[in-house]
């Protein structure tokens, strides 16, 4: 028996089926958790955000006018919750005032010397500012298009394109010597 599509599950959920919600949750929980964990770099906070996200989905399902928009909508809610947590941690994200700064720390290379080299890519990804890290997460892990990323983040497609390029350029400068050594 083929599993039900998202649209079918949403239809059942709107008719009051509790098992439909459980199925949607099981389908997306790992991906939403992975997205939150990679963005927040904290297991406990990621759990909290996932819980809040699915509760909001449950309460506000009537706001979803097009079932085919469920996935971007789900991630946009998770994103908003995650950024609420980030703001509580006093991470400020003001791209205009901080110009082209991509890194959270001044000396990311020195910070990574002590880290486990197997996780060097993850370490550098974690050192990116949340704005850039999020773009890479949505593109590289979730395989979302620029249009979908723009819908989730509220950015223009041009800003998504530019942000991804800046993040890759900055990472390239730091990772190139590492990749050369590991050849």
């Amino acid at each position: 028996m083929q599993p039900l599509s998202d649209e079918q599950l949403l239809e059942q959920l709107q008719l009051g089926s509790p098992s439909a919600f459980a199925q949607l949750y099981q389908r997306y929980k790992h991906r939403v958790y992975a997205y939150c964990y990679r963005l927040l770099r904290d297991e406990q906070r990621a759990e909290d955000v996932v819980q809040e996200t699915f509760l909001k989905i449950h309460e506000n399902l009537y706001l979803l006018q097009k079932p085919e928009m469920f996935r971007p909508w789900l991630f946009s809610i998770a994103r908003n919750e995650a950024y609420t947590h980030l703001r509580r941690r006093r991470y400020t994200e003001d791209l205009e005032s901080q110009g082209d700064l991509v890194w959270e720390e001044d000396n990311p290379l020195e910070a990574v010397i002590e880290s486990d080299r197997k996780n060097i890519i993850q370490h550098y990804l974690g050192l990116l500012k949340p704005h850039y890290r999020e773009l890479l997460i949505l593109r590289e892990y979730e395989q979302l298009s620029y249009t979908e990323i723009a819908q989730i983040t509220g950015l223009t497609e041009s800003a998504v394109k530019s942000g991804l390029f800046k993040a890759r350029k900055a990472l390239g400068k730091k990772l190139e010597p590492v990749f050369k050594e590991s050849k």
Partner: protein, 154 residues
């Protein structure tokens, strides 16, 4: 076009977002520019490194937190009437002083425009009783006014 601009195109290319007509010029440039080839190579290795990472899995305790605490699923009907009804029933939370101010303003507006109060507020608009002497028809008194049929008293 500068290398920076070409590398922006490389970023779009690996995301399958580059316009088809731009590809030939980009590939032509890549065949001659080592710096841009290095950028492409590093970006693809970075991508491969990310994809080697195991997916962080949601812990099982999260299931109880999410499924155990959500209330019974409400029934939503997607037609416009029901949606309007749901919106109408939603409570709007308003601070008490703001609610009181709105009530007072509404009362003032109603009072200012109500015909019951209008004459008191606008004395000049009060109608004055006029005595109309009718020679042909008998005068008929209606509520203090003398009125002929089909006659409007001003």
């Amino acid at each position: 076009m500068t290398c920076e601009e070409h590398q922006e195109q490389i970023s779009e290319l690996i995301d399958n977002e580059l316009e088809e007509q731009q590809s030939p010029a980009l590939f032509s440039h890549l065949s001659t520019c080592e710096e841009c080839r290095r950028f492409l190579h590093t970006t693809l290795r970075f991508r491969a490194g990310l994809q080697e990472e195991a997916l962080p899995l949601a812990p099982t305790r999260l299931d109880q937190k999410v499924l155990g605490t959500t209330p019974a699923v409400k029934r939503y009907v997607l037609d416009r009437t029901a949606r309007r009804s749901i919106l109408w029933k939603r409570r709007v939370s308003l601070p008490l002083p703001a609610a009181a101010l709105i009530m007072v303003l509404l009362m003032v507006i109603v009072a200012a425009t109500s015909p019951l109060w209008y004459p008191r507020l606008h004395p000049q608009a009060q109608t004055q009783a006029q005595t109309v002497y009718v020679t042909t028809f008998p005068a008929v008194e209606v509520d203090g006014y003398y009125q002929r049929p089909n006659t409007r008293i001003q």
